[in-house]
C-alpha cells in the first residue's frame, strides 16, 4: 500500500527539522503510538504502535531505523513490527521530505505500508483506509503542534 501526503506548516524548515528529531514530541503526533524510546541517537528508535478497527485491535512493538539523513531536507526510515498475539507483521518504508516555501515548510512523506498475517483477513481496503486516516491525523497533528508554538 502506497501513501503520499503533504502538509503545509507555517514554520521555518529548521524548526520542523528539529521537531522531527525530538522523539517525545514527534511521537505524540503519531496516533496510537506509545512507549517511544531512543536506542541509538539519530539511528534507531523503538515504539509501540496500536490501532483498532471496530473490535479488532493490534499492537505492534516496532523498531524504527533511520536509513538516510540529509540535513534539513530528507529522511529515509524503515519501521518493522510484529503482533504475535494475532500473528501479524507490519513494515513501513518512509521517505520524509522538507521544502522551504517563503515563511512556510512543506512537509511531505511517502509511505509504503505492508501488513502480513491474519490481520490481512480484514481486507486490503479496510486496512488501507485506516492507514490513510492515521497518516492524515498525523500530518494534521504535526501542523497543529508546530503552528501552535509559533
Amino acid at each position: 500500500m502506497q501513501f503520499q501526503k503533504e502538509v503545509e506548516i507555517l514554520a521555518p524548515r529548521e524548526k520542523v527539522w528539529k521537531f522531527i528529531w525530538d522523539v517525545d514530541r514527534f511521537i505524540a503526533c503519531v496516533p496510537g503510538c506509545k512507549e517511544a524510546k531512543t536506542l541509538e541517537e539519530g539511528k534507531r528508535y523503538a515504539a509501540t504502535l496500536t490501532e483498532r478497527v471496530g473490535p479488532f485491535k493490534v499492537e505492534f512493538p516496532t523498531i524504527i531505523e533511520v536509513l538516510e539523513r540529509e540535513e534539513l531536507t530528507h529522511i529515509k526510515a524503515q519501521a518493522t513490527g510484529a503482533d504475535n498475539k494475532i500473528g501479524s507483521r507490519m513494515k513501513i518504508d518512509l521517505d520524509v521530505n522538507l521544502r522551504a516555501q517563503d515563511d512556510k515548510t512543506i512537509l511531505g512523506f511517502v509511505a509504503g505500508v505492508d501488513i502480513l498475517g491474519k490481520l490481512a483477513a480484514l481486507g486490503h481496503g479496510i486496512i488501507k483506509r485506516k492507514a490513510d486516516q492515521v497518516l492524515d491525523e498525523f500530518a494534521q497533528a504535526v501542523k497543529k503542534k508546530l503552528e501552535g508554538e509559533a
Binding site: 471496530g54 473490535p55 498475539k85 483477513a121 481486507g123 481496503g125 488501507k128 483506509r129
Partner: protein
Amino acid sequence: MLRRFRLEEPESVAEVSELLGRFGENAKVYAGGTELLLVMKEGLVQYERLINVKKLGLNQISAENGTLKIGALCTHHELENSALLQQQLPALVKLEQNVANVRVRQAGTIGGNLCFAEPHADPGTLLMALGAKLVADKGASKREILAEDFFVDAYETSLAADEVLTEIRVPTPGANRKCAYLKFGYLERPSVGVAIAFSLTGGGVSDVKIAAGCAGPAPKRVAEAEALLNGKSKDEASRSLAQAGAIAGKASQAISDLHGAQDYKEHIVGVLLKRAFQAAVS
C-alpha cells in the same frame, strides 16, 4: 483454535446489559456465532466471556400498528421462511434467501449480522431503504436508532457498550410502496449491494429511499440521488437513473479490495440502482 472463554447464560436483556457494562471489552454478545466465532478461531479477537443471548426468545416476527417487528435473534432461515414476511416484505425475504450459504442462514441471526457490521453484509442496506428502526435495549430503558444512523464505520455501530439490539422495526409497506434489493459479487460475500424503496402513486414517484452497501466500509443512504427521482413520473425517474446511479456510486465510499476496484464498484452501484428500480416497478 478457539481459546478458552466463559459462557454467560443470562435470562433477561437487563442481565445482558449489566454483563456488558460490567465486563466491557472483555465480553461480547454471542448469537449465531457465524461471524464472531470465525474471528475468534482466527485469533483476531479474544474475549474472556461470551454472553449467550439465544435463550432470550428474541426471535418473534409480528405485525403491529403498521409496523413489522422482527426479533433480532431471528435466523436468516426463519426470515426467509416467515409467511408474514413473504406476504408483507418480500424484498427482505428475497435478500435473506441469498445471504451467504445455507449453513450460515441456519445459524446466523439478523441481529448478529447488523451488530457485527461486516462491510460486505446485505441486510443493513435494505433496512435503510425500508426506513427501519433498530431497538437498542438496556432492559430498563430502550431507544430506537434509524438504520441509517446505526452503522458508524466498518465493524462499528452506534450501539452503546451496554445496549443490546433486540428488535428491528420496519414500517409495513403499503400497496403503492415498491422496493427491491440487488447485489453483485463473484466471491461469497457481495461486492456491491443497492436497495431502493419508493411510493408509486398515479404514475408519480415519491418518498424515494436509496442505499448503497458492501462497496465501502458501511452502508450509506444517498439523499442526493433520492432527490433526483422524487416527484417525477415513472418515465422521468427512469431517465434520471443514470445520473442518480453515478451519484450513488460516489456516495457509496467504495474502496478497492479483493471484491473489486473503487471505480468498478462505483459503476456497479449505478447498474444495480437502475435494475433495482426496474425490478421494484415490475
